[in-house]
Structure formats: C-alpha cells, structure tokens
Amino acid sequence: MTNHPEAVDTLLIGVGNEFREDDAVGLCVAREIRRRNAGAVTVVEVSGEGSGLMEAWAGARQVIIVDAMFSGGVPGSIRRFDATAEEVPRRYFHYSTHSFGVAEAIETARKLGTLPPHLLLYGIEGKEFGTGVGLSDPVVKSVPALIAMIEEDLHAFHAV
C-alpha cells in the first residue's frame, strides 16, 4: 500500500493480517511507533503480498519492515536481518504472508536491482496464527523490546 503521497527518506512498514492472531504483530508495532513518533516517521501497513511491499518501499532510502515469523523458534523471540547485506531466509516468513511474500519480495527486488539502499527486517516469532483478533502472551511481552530496537535503528538512521 503506498499511502504516502511521495517518496520518503525513512519508512517503517508493518506487515500482517489483524484477523490472524499473532500475524497482526507487525501492524501493532507499526501503529505504536507511529503514535510515539508522530510526524517523524512515515509508517505504512501492508498485508504481506510481496509485490505490494515492493511498491510500498519504492523511492525510500531507509526501510524497516516488521513481520511475524514462524520458524519453529521460541514464541516472542526477535530476529533482526540486515536485508541489504544478507539473504533473508524464506522459511521464516512463510507463515505470515502469501507465498509471494516478504522474503520473496526482498530477494526478487535484489535480483531486479530495486532494493532500497538500507533495508532492515525484523521478525518476531508468533505462537498462534488461527482466525481471531489479539496477540498471544509471549508475543505481547516481546513487543516493548522490539519497539526499542526499532527506535534505536531509527535514531541511527537520524529519522527520530
């Protein structure tokens, strides 16, 4: 979704589906960061369909993506990937999105030469991905730490 009117320098993208329990965590984190840094950071929400994601970051120089992850790890655990420097493991991000999803979008953009100059991807391990509203306890407990990590990156980007 490109609901920012023109290209921006720093962009935070929350990925997820708010009716799939922990899959909504990327959206929740994005909304909280928007609230805490009103006006300083452009925040967009996407469903996780890969081509829409590629359009959302078009023109941005520094991009942070937050998505739920399903890698078999401990629920609530956080992974940070410097997607500019390393390939993103597709199996981690399969659960939260369509099959042309976040990891596929990043790797396709790398092949097409359309990756943003700086791209960080945060994954937070989900526990429940059934149909429903609300996050599981382990995910809720990890959200403050995830927000702190992202805000540190935004400071490093001189965005906030």
Binding site: T2, N3, F19, S99
Partner: protein
C-alpha cells in the same frame, strides 16, 4: 496390495496455505483430500450484530488479494435486499474498481506464481534472475491495477471507499485520466506477452466440468448477472441456495460446494470464458484465438491463458470507462434499512463469490452467509488431482508431485485469507512403487 503416497511439505505459490493429500493403492488413486481453513466462517459470526453499512468494510478484510470482490458482493446483497439499484456512472465506477482488482490479481498469479511453474523455475525470484524484464514489466502492469483500486477504492489494501448505495467519495475525472496512458501501455504489453504464455508446455489433460458463472445481458460478468451453468442452469442470484449447497467434509475446515442434483462444479476464469465468450471484446476474442483457445476450454492448466484474455479485457474496459467518465452528481444513493434478506454474487478473480444477509428493520445484520470461490472449487480441485494422478501415475514421483501442485495452482486458490501451509502428501505403503 501396494500403495503409494506423495508428500510435499508445502505448495509454494498458492495464496496462503492448505493441504493436499493423495494416496495411491495398487496403481489406483484411493484418496484425495484438499483441505483448507476458511475465514468466512469467522467473519460470518463477526458480522452478526453489526450495522448493514459495515458489511463492505468488514468483509474487505477477509482477503488481501480480492477485497473488492468481497465489497462488491456485500453491497450488491444489501442493495438487493433493500430494493436499491445502483446504475449509471456509479455502476461504471464499481466496474472500474473491479477491473483494477482483476488486473492486479491475474497479473500476480500469471507471472509471479503460475508462469514460473511452467518455465521450470522454483519461484519468481529465480525467474527474475533470468528474465528480469519480464518480471519488471509484470510488476509495472500489476501496479496499474493497484492504482485503480487505490484511486477508486480509497486504498489499495482493504479499500474503504465502497458504500451501500455507491461510494463515500467519487474521484474527479482528472484523477483517473492519467491512468489512460499507462493502461494503453499495459494493454500493448499484455498482448505482446501473450504468445510467450501460449508457448508454455501444458500437460495433455482435460477435465469434465459443470461450469458455473454469472451471465449479464451485455457485459462480460463482473458485478452483475444471472447464475448460469454449462448444464443449462439459468437462475437469479437470489435462487442460488435452492440450487447449490455447502457440505462439511472432515478433512477441510472450509465447506465444500455442490450443485444439487449435479455434484461438483467449477467457478473461475474458465467458467466465465466458456459461458461468456460472446461478451468479450473483439480484441480479447482475437487474443484468445491467437493463443489457441477454442471453446470450451477444458484443460485447467490453460487457465493462465484465460487470465491473460481477461486481463486484456479488463484493461480495455478500464480504458473505456475512464474515457467515458463523467463524475456522478452524488456519490451514493441514500439507503434506508429494510428488514429482509438480500443476496449478491459477483465474479471475484477466482470465481463467483456469493453473499447473503438477513437484516432487521433497525439495520442490524442478524445473519450472514459467505460462499467464496475456492470453497466452491474444492471438490473439483480434488477431482482434477485424482484424474491427473490416475493419468500420469508412471511419472517420476518428484515430477508427479510438482504437477499436482500445479493442478491445485490452476485454481489460484485464494486461501491466503484462510490458511497457512499447503502440504501435498502422496502416500505409498511398503511394497508400492516408491521412487
């Protein structure tokens, strides 16, 4: 007795996830189970107690790929139940919105999900390595569809501008006109790309189907029409539940759709094309002929070609609607709630999507029923896989598994909104011809 099973951990590139299990005994297919989880059940419950005006926005949340379809069926059902008819430029704008969704959904499926299958690529990433111009142009075309949805629908994902009775806000002509040049480019590129699609290696496979789609007196069906079938059915949308039913099956969370007295049936591009070829434009018909499509198309693998024809058509329709566009005087007709039942069916990219609502006189939704195309197609998907495995039983296991994945993908099953992993399990007991 020897038996055989095929197992694949997940079906890549199906929107969302589900599972497919196939068991072969003594060279014969003993069991096929395609299972998906279906969110409409959750949303049906979620809708009860909400105002009738909320239905388009709530149901748009069911799917990130086809929110417009959910909105269109929702408003049509409400308007039918309340005796309101939306026509003229408001109807044209809704059709334009639907064109946007068809373009983005079809292009995503054709080039990012389906074509890599036929070309022997693992995924679109591999395809973009070898054919970057193809992927870049496909993404450029898809973006035109997204932008139509963003301008008319208010947002690309989960559009918010559709209202019972019309729209909340109508776009100015100046907002739509810049799309014309891009649409013309998209039309040229799609026609240019068609021979490449026609040259893909299609398996020699034809299914037997009861095709079901909407049919309109003058238009290729999107927002309106009667429900017709290749078996001669011709009914009003409100008669749908007299002729079609949903059944629980143990292996799927989603209900399976059946036509009473006929059994499984098929909705989607092939059904629309076979039942409405005469409603296509001359150019779309020519592209179909040039790609070698002859009526009726019964090879489900060739659905990618029909999607190309429908993309050509949607691009032409979008150009026509924008060229003729005069903003309507009012964004919506005022709709007062009327107690009763309303039914709506429209053609989602994946096939007919049916909604039915019961609303009380205070405008509160008391009951909702949503029948998505993938639920209707489930028994046919299983039958395709059954026939396909029977015919190609001697293929090497890996190839057969891959082809089974493709056979499911032919339906572009929209279970994203729904489910997560697609597992293809083809079992084989000891002593079977395991490879």
């Amino acid at each position: 007795m020897s038996s055989r099973t095929i197992t694949v951990d997940q079906l890549a590139r199906v929107e969302g996830e589900g599972s497919l299990y196939v068991r072969v005994n003594d060279g014969k297919v003993a069991d096929v189970r395609f299972g998906i989880f279906e969110p409409p059940r959750f949303f049906e419950a979620f809708l009860r107690g909400r105002r009738f005006t909320e239905a388009p926005d709530i149901t748009a949340r069911i799917c990130g790929i086809c929110p417009v379809a959910y909105q269109m069926s929702a408003v049509q059902a409400m308007e039918q139940g309340m005796g309101v008819s939306v026509d003229g430029q408001l109807a044209a704008l809704r059709r334009l919105l639907y064109c946007g969704e068809w373009i983005e959904s079809h292009v995503l499926h054709m080039f990012m999900l389906h074509a890599p299958d036929f070309l022997g690529y693992e995924d679109a990433i591999a395809l973009s390595r070898d054919r970057p111009e193809l992927v870049a142009n496909a993404l450029r075309l898809k973006k035109i569809g997204n932008d139509i949805v963003a301008i008319v629908g208010g947002r690309e994902i989960h559009p918010v501008n559709v209202k019972v009775g019309g729209f909340y806000r109508i776009p100015a002509a100046a907002e739509l006109r810049p799309l014309l040049e891009r649409l013309e480019w998209g039309l040229s590129w799609m026609i240019e790309a068609a021979p490449m699609l026609a040259g893909l290696p299609f398996p020699d496979f034809d299914g037997t189907y009861e095709f079901v789609a909407l049919r309109h007196p003058s238009e290729y069906p999107m927002n309106a029409g009667r429900i017709v079938s290749s078996g001669g059915l011709d009914i009003a949308v409100r008669e749908y539940e007299f002729h079609f039913e949903e059944r629980h099956v143990r292996h799927s969370n989603a209900l399976h759709g059946f036509e009473r007295g006929t059994g499984r049936y098929k909705v989607g591009p092939l059904s629309r094309f076979n039942l409405n070829f005469d409603r296509l434009t001359p150019l779309a018909q020519k592209v179909a002929g040039d790609m070698g499509l002859r009526l009726p198309v019964t090879n489900p693998f060739r659905s990618i070609l029909v999607r190309a024809v429908e993309t050509v058509y949607a691009l032409e329709e979008a150009i026509r609607i924008i060229a003729d566009y005069v903003p309507p005087a009012q964004a919506a007709i005022e709709v007062e709630p009327v107690a009763g039942i309303g039914c709506g069916a429209t053609e989602a990219p994946r096939g007919m999507l049916y909604h039915r609502y019961r609303v009380s006189d205070d405008g509160i939704i008391r009951d909702a029923k949503i029948v998505p195309p993938t639920a209707q197609n489930q028994p046919t998907i299983e039958e395709d896989v059954r026939q396909f495995v029977t015919k190609f039983i001697d293929l090497p296991r890996e190839e057969l598994t891959w082809k089974c994945e493709q056979a499911v993908r032919n339906y572009d099953p929209c279970i994203s909104c729904a489910t997560h992993f697609v597992r293809l399990d083809v079992e084989n007991s000891p002593g079977g011809r395991s490879r």
